[in-house]
């Protein structure tokens, strides 16, 4: 650990550290996700460990600094998993370190399966966090249906540590499937790919991965019990021309945006799925691919390119995932919000972190 890093050992200690801080804090779990940093490092790595796991209730509770690998291992022992398939940012960003569950929650890191089972925020049942004043807050719980009070759980997912520092999270987990199949359709361009993916996603065959890799083609995934997977893969072959069997390992690379390579800025663009090809055409990216049936476009562009200007007129948003400090500052990490929404976001920020000390640049827009 670096000199001067705050490393509280429990939630009370974390609250104390935040109350006592008089400079900005750079909140980190494993430090793998490339959130623009400023200030003194505050690590939650010591808030670690699974505190409750009930396979029969599909529920797991863990402290925020728990390594994702530890959680995945515990789940695998019971034949379960995190269904939202959290992205590992290390291959894209070249970061070192150990991804934590708190970091995944702070980024709402959701992979290809988002189109069928939902995002991380949909699996997040409860949180405990310490806000910018040092106040300890719990919200949600560990049950699947809970409408008691406002849902701050969703608000915390993807808030990048700017409203509070997570100390504990509780998650809905799902059974791991007994079998999986990946189908590959020949590459006939992005327009055709999105139509094929829409046809698959419109079918009742529960497709839980739908991506397009230029040069490789359209990829579809089904998972479940063996007979069911064989049946649904067969029906999809009937529905779509020229489907061949593919390798299921491809989904890890899609999840982690590996096809973008290590050069240039990396952007993540979220749009309605049928707009995916428009984004691709307008972006003129060096490397790109589509996930979520076309609704998520990953694009690598030369450093400093203002991709958002190229995408003007297309609804949705573009996030800068990998860029230099100057580019983050000049273009803004997140897509600019409409003025009225920005007023709300700023208002929330001002109330949860009145001193503006939590990850001050993590959600920067211009």
């Amino acid at each position: 650990m670096g000199a001067g890093m705050l490393s509280p050992r429990d939630e009370a200690d974390l609250a104390e550290a935040i109350r006592g801080a008089n400079t900005p804090l750079h909140v980190r779990g494993g430090g793998t996700r490339g959130v623009p940093a400023q200030g003194e490092a505050l690590s939650v790595a010591r808030l670690s460990g699974v505190t409750l796991y009930e396979p029969g209730a599909l529920t797991l509770v863990a402290r925020a600094g728990t390594p994702l690998a530890e959680i995945e291992q515990a789940l695998a022992a019971e034949n379960q998993r995190l269904a939202f398939e959290p992205m590992d940012h290390r291959p894209l960003l070249g970061t070192q370190g150990t991804p934590t569950i708190g970091g995944a929650v702070a980024m709402n890191a959701s992979g290809p399966r988002r189109i069928q089972v939902g995002a991380l925020r949909d699996a997040l049942l409860g949180v405990r966090f310490v806000d910018g004043t040092g106040m300890i807050v719990k919200n949600g719980g560990r049950v699947m249906k809970n409408v008691t009070g406002y849902d701050l759980v969703k608000l915390m997912a993807g808030s990048r540590g700017t409203l509070g520092v997570l100390s504990e999270v509780s998650l809905k987990v799902l059974p791991a499937p007994a079998a999986a199949a990946t189908l590959v359709l020949p590459d006939e361009g992005p327009d055709r790919a999105v139509r094929q993916m829409a046809a698959a996603l419109r079918s009742p065959f529960e497709v839980n991965g739908a991506a397009y890799l230029p040069g490789q083609g359209t990829l579809l995934r089904v998972e479940g019990f063996a007979d069911s997977v064989a049946y649904r893969a067969g029906r999809l072959r009937d529905l779509l021309d020229d489907a061949a069997d593919g390798d299921g390992d491809v989904w890890t690379g899609i999840r982690d945006a590996v096809p973008l390579g290590r050069d240039g800025d990396a952007w993540r663009i979220s749009v309605r799925p049928s707009d995916g090809p428009r984004v691709v055409a307008a972006a003129k990216a060096d490397r790109w691919f589509m996930d979520w049936g076309g609704g998520l476009v990953w694009a690598a562009l030369p450093e400093g390119t203002d991709l958002r200007a190229r995408l003007a007129g297309i609804d949705g948003h573009a996030t800068l995932v990998r860029a230099g400090f100057d580019t983050h500052a000049r273009l803004g990490t997140l897509h600019p919000e409409a003025p009225a929404l920005r007023t709300l976001s700023d208002g929330l920020r001002a109330r949860f972190d009145p001193r503006g000390i939590l990850n001050p640049r993590a959600m920067a827009t211009v």
Binding site: E78, R114, N146, G158, S159, S228, Y231, P273, S345, G347
Partner: protein
């Protein structure tokens, strides 16, 4: 409820006049014999006619109404179809009811992008109705789905019987048009799948009409499964039934529904609907979906697990007719209970593992009150619906019933659950919030309302205990 603001009551004529200046005459209800229709929702124990009720037909009209009420300092209580069991749409005498029932159009349907955009007054079932011929459905299915509006579903984050697989409203909501108390109109989310910044949509859903009025909603629609089939199981005791639920979930099957009924409920529904249920302590209905072969595969596994728990009855449906028979009793349960008694329906959620303990404790808690409790609920997700039976005509019985209800909900919190799984807090559970949350926990929630509704005029006396919101709510002139 707090005392009404006399200054507002005295200005009724002026407020009504201003509302009539932006709405057609048939959209402003203000005569005392007419406002009575809005005095309560499905929680009929509490009633109070509002100052007026308005029924706008467009987002612009909603914005105009809110702007006027904001300027006049008049509280607004949003209302969908008025089916809330928690008093979410209960007015105060100084408030305007804003009903969205006349806004029920389908605005856009897109099967390639798998969403539908509707005006928020549209009923839940008619959303599915608009897409089912094309093989789609809208997943959240609260039992009031024939009548309840999407606006109310969003306000309460409504669930239903099929949440284990499909989630609740928040997991199926992609975007909203939200009108703020000052009349400004916001677009939040849309057909894309995630938020650009903070997940404002996530906090709006379930905020019980306290952050803004939702006038349009973009909803995720799903392709209809090829088919579904249930199996019915009877057990000698609740513990065994609870253990069987856990074992099914652990085995890797994700049934679309797991419903549980206890003996008092089984007997009442049997007398009412003659579904042919076995006379046993606990009954489960487990339903799975897919193609015929997939259903066979899942049911075979479920039946194998169930046999290990020595059921007194195990009945697999072989046809649509048999499926309907299995569901008949469950679907008539509430009607059956209403036939023999007045009842209060609770809505606490518990960790599934605590099911046997909680059912035993509910029985023990009910003894000193001399009231019977029947249980029928969604066992897969732990959302209980204990029905406390009482006699509304017997003096003191309602009070006893409410006290027992509070005891049961505290029990749900004590074992790691919560006060309400899908009905909402409203006025009904407002004062129990102290049992689930610390003051700091609630302070964090109140800040969100401060940001969205700084004047605290939207449904202000709901959700949170009045003592902790007093300093924020407008002060009534005495």
């Amino acid at each position: 409820m707090p005392e009404p603001d006399v200054r507002i009551l005295n200005r009724k004529a002026q407020v009504v006049q201003r509302l009539l200046s932006v709405l057609p005459a048939d959209a402003v209800i203000h005569e005392p014999h007419e406002t009575r229709a809005y005095e309560c929702d499905a929680l009929t124990a509490y009633r109070c006619p509002p100052l007026a009720a308005v029924l706008p037909r467009s987002t612009d009209e909603v914005a105009a109404v809110l702007r006027i009420c904001h300027e006049e300092g008049v509280p607004v209580v949003p209302r969908g179809s008025g089916t809330s069991l928690a008093g979410g749409a209960l007015p105060t005498a100084d408030s305007v009811i804003l009903g969205v029932a006349r806004m029920n159009a389908v605005l856009e349907t897109d099967y390639d992008d798998r969403f539908i955009r509707v005006q928020s007054g549209r009923t839940n079932l008619s959303v599915t109705g608009a897409v089912e011929e094309d093989g789609f459905f809208y997943a959240p299915d609260p039992s009031s789905q024939l009548a309840c509006a999407i606006a109310g579903n969003i306000a309460m984050n409504s669930g239903g019987a099929h949440c284990l697989k499909y989630g609740v409203t928040t997991n199926n909501l992609l975007g909203v048009t939200l009108v703020q108390m000052d009349g400004s109109v916001l677009e939040i989310g849309g057909p894309h799948l995630d938020a650009a910044g903070y997940d404002l949509l996530g906090v709006i859903c379930g905020s019980e009409g306290q952050l803004g009025v939702v006038t349009e909603a973009t909803l995720r629609i799903l392709p209809k499964p090829e088919g579904a089939r249930p199996v019915l199981m009877g057990f000698d005791d609740n513990e065994t039934a609870g253990a069987c639920v856990s074992a099914i979930i652990k085995a890797g099957v994700l049934p679309v529904a797991i419903e549980f009924m206890d003996r008092p409920c089984i007997r009442a529904t049997e007398a009412f609907a003659q579904a042919g249920y076995p006379d046993c302590e606990a009954l489960l209905i487990v339903e799975v979906e897919g193609s015929p072969a997939e259903i066979d595969e899942q049911l075979a596994l479920i039946l194998k697990i169930a046999r290990g728990f020595d059921p007194v009855e195990l009945r697999e449906s072989k046809s649509a007719e048999e499926s309907a028979r299995i569901w008949l009793g469950r679907k008539s349960a509430f009607g059956a209970m209403g036939q023999i008694n007045d009842y209060m329906c609770l809505d606490g959620t518990i960790p599934v593992s605590e099911l046997p303990l909680v059912l035993r404790r509910i029985r023990e808690l009910s003894v000193p009150y001399g009231l019977d409790v029947a249980n029928v609920f969604h066992a897969g997700d732990g959302n209980m619906h204990p029905l406390i039976l009482f006699d509304a005509n017997k003096p003191g019985d309602l009070e006893k019933c409410e006290a027992l209800g509070a005891d049961i909900l505290r029990l749900c919190v004590e074992v790691g659950g919560c006060l309400t799984g899908e009905h909402g807090v409203g006025v009904e559970k407002r004062d129990l919030m102290h049992d689930q949350f610390t003051d700091d926990d609630m302070e964090a929630q109140l800040r969100v309302k401060d940001v969205f509704d700084p004047a605290w005029l939207l449904n202000p006396a709901k959700v949170f205990p009045l003592d902790i919101t007093r300093s924020r709510r407008p002060v009534a002139a005495e």
